[in-house]
Symmetry: C2
Subunit: 340 residues, 2 copies
Amino acid sequence: MPTMSDVARRAGVALSTVSYALNGTRPISAETRERIFAAMEELGYKPHALARGLASKRSRIIALLFPTPERGLGFTELEFVTSAANAARNCGYNLVLWSSEIHNPDEMRQLTQQGLVDGVIVMEVRLEDDRIRLLRELEFPFSMIGRCSDCDGIPHVDIDFHETVVEAVAYLMQLGHTRIGFLNQSQSTYTAGYGPAVRTQAAFEAVMQRAKLQGVSRFCRAAPKAGYEAFGALLAEHPDLTALVIMNERAVPGVMQAIADRGWSIPDDFSIVSVVSSAAAAEMMIPPLTAAEAMTAEMGRLGVELLVRQLEGQPQDESGVLLPCKLVVRGSAGPRRQTY
Amino acid sequence: MPTMSDVARRAGVALSTVSYALNGTRPISAETRERIFAAMEELGYKPHALARGLASKRSRIIALLFPTPERGLGFTELEFVTSAANAARNCGYNLVLWSSEIHNPDEMRQLTQQGLVDGVIVMEVRLEDDRIRLLRELEFPFSMIGRCSDCDGIPHVDIDFHETVVEAVAYLMQLGHTRIGFLNQSQSTYTAGYGPAVRTQAAFEAVMQRAKLQGVSRFCRAAPKAGYEAFGALLAEHPDLTALVIMNERAVPGVMQAIADRGWSIPDDFSIVSVVSSAAAAEMMIPPLTAAEAMTAEMGRLGVELLVRQLEGQPQDESGVLLPCKLVVRGSAGPRRQTY
DNA sequence: CTGTTAGCGCGTTCAT
DNA sequence: ATGAACGCGCTAACAG
């Protein structure tokens, strides 16, 4: 494995000149640069990442903090990870996966203090999140995919849950629905202050109220069975429901089964819009779901770009980005059945 | 950020003594060790990962090479990633994600020569895989989740596709089915020499032949629509089919739709067994799928453990591990309909 | 525009 | 059982 001094010797220059040529940190005459790069080529030289990091105090490694949530990882999270990995590579960074089992302050301290990573991207952020508090306190660079309640000045990208719910409900209303329900994630997720659960709930209530409609909603664990039961309960209380907004991919099959068991068909007798869903999951249902899909690729990319910008001291045009989901019309929502 | 010499000074010992105490590389009197660890504690000292790596020539970082396959990433891949991340952490390693867009030798060279990672875990291995060839040639430590055709001496963990198919078919036969079809992944995946596609195909043909039954099979892109069409084509040619083994999660909904459109119901009129499937996907179908599920958590863990063992020069009891899928009976396969 | 040199924080071989 | 000193490969002053 050739080192920089090998290259320097072969090119007949000082070691530092090679360094400067490599980093462009200082002007080098075209001619010597030629020689240097030629030498690197001939020797098959690759800069040593660790040595570079040690000397420059910048590892060019960032970490993705991704806990394993109660509801299980889904396509959406997977896409965050892959797009973040690609984005990091494009920015010249390496991405390490830090799968913290829970919100553990000690592990975070370890991570940030061992000098391995320049910054971290936090996923699955709660409204009140110890990890965020700790990172701020340590003044450790980070960005969030998601957001906490007080996120002033913290670079983040998150779904615009309000807008997403507004659009989903508007779409259903436009189809004539007025009795619309909302199926959220689990009660415990909500209680834990998990952003998506809290924000969509609030948004749904707000939008229904503004429309002077009664909005009924329910929590539901991330499992088909739970979806089945939740739907039954919801309809027992509100038999006039004709449509449901669901933010719970794993519960959807149960809901659909419950609908079928009533002898109804989708979307003729009942409409469903899945929100904050992945295209993959939506397309796996029969009929395929009309869904508000998160722009996962953009979000993953932005998560790392916001962090990198911060690390490189570039101007932050804006610290927070909110992206509404994109409504993709498929086959699970239709005009309200005319019952009279 | 305190360094080792800070600790040494505070403990009243030499810097090297701190190092030895930390690594246990050499006997230290209990008393001075006490002092040293106390000093570390008081100062909040954490060893600097890069410096340690530079000096020891071992970064304690490994990479997970995970390409984005044509068929899209699924739950199975996601679980490999998360379990690998956890396993790495348990072994005291960091896991970097290297999402190579394609099988690119240059990027691999870059990765391996920049001294950042001690070894790599390769996913989505093809029978003939340039990445594997390159790694061998560079004598760079690696392990595989999956395997290539000549994998003598290369640590790997893979699904026992043969056994998996044998069990799935046996299960169907036991239910009385004799006309059994197989729905594989796409033709192009097969042609590219992607292990799972090739090995299950061979296994299916072998097992059917051994049972003196006609085995009909078909390739299918990873999309519901493709599944729908493939099922139609399969039944047009072989109207007597009563059961199908499918290794194509994303095509399943289409197949089920096609079955429903014939007025058939699952499993009364037609049986399905999904192989090399994830529990998550199986449970999302209606009815939930009887499926042979890959032991993803074990595989991810073994992938890193095999690599780490190699890196630490530990004895390899066996270089290759083959894990059959676990058949989980749910609701998509039943006794053959009695037509006479 | 280029060269010289002092670290970055730690592992490890010598001595003692 | 402990210390001193060198080097890992590179960056970034400082000095021309």
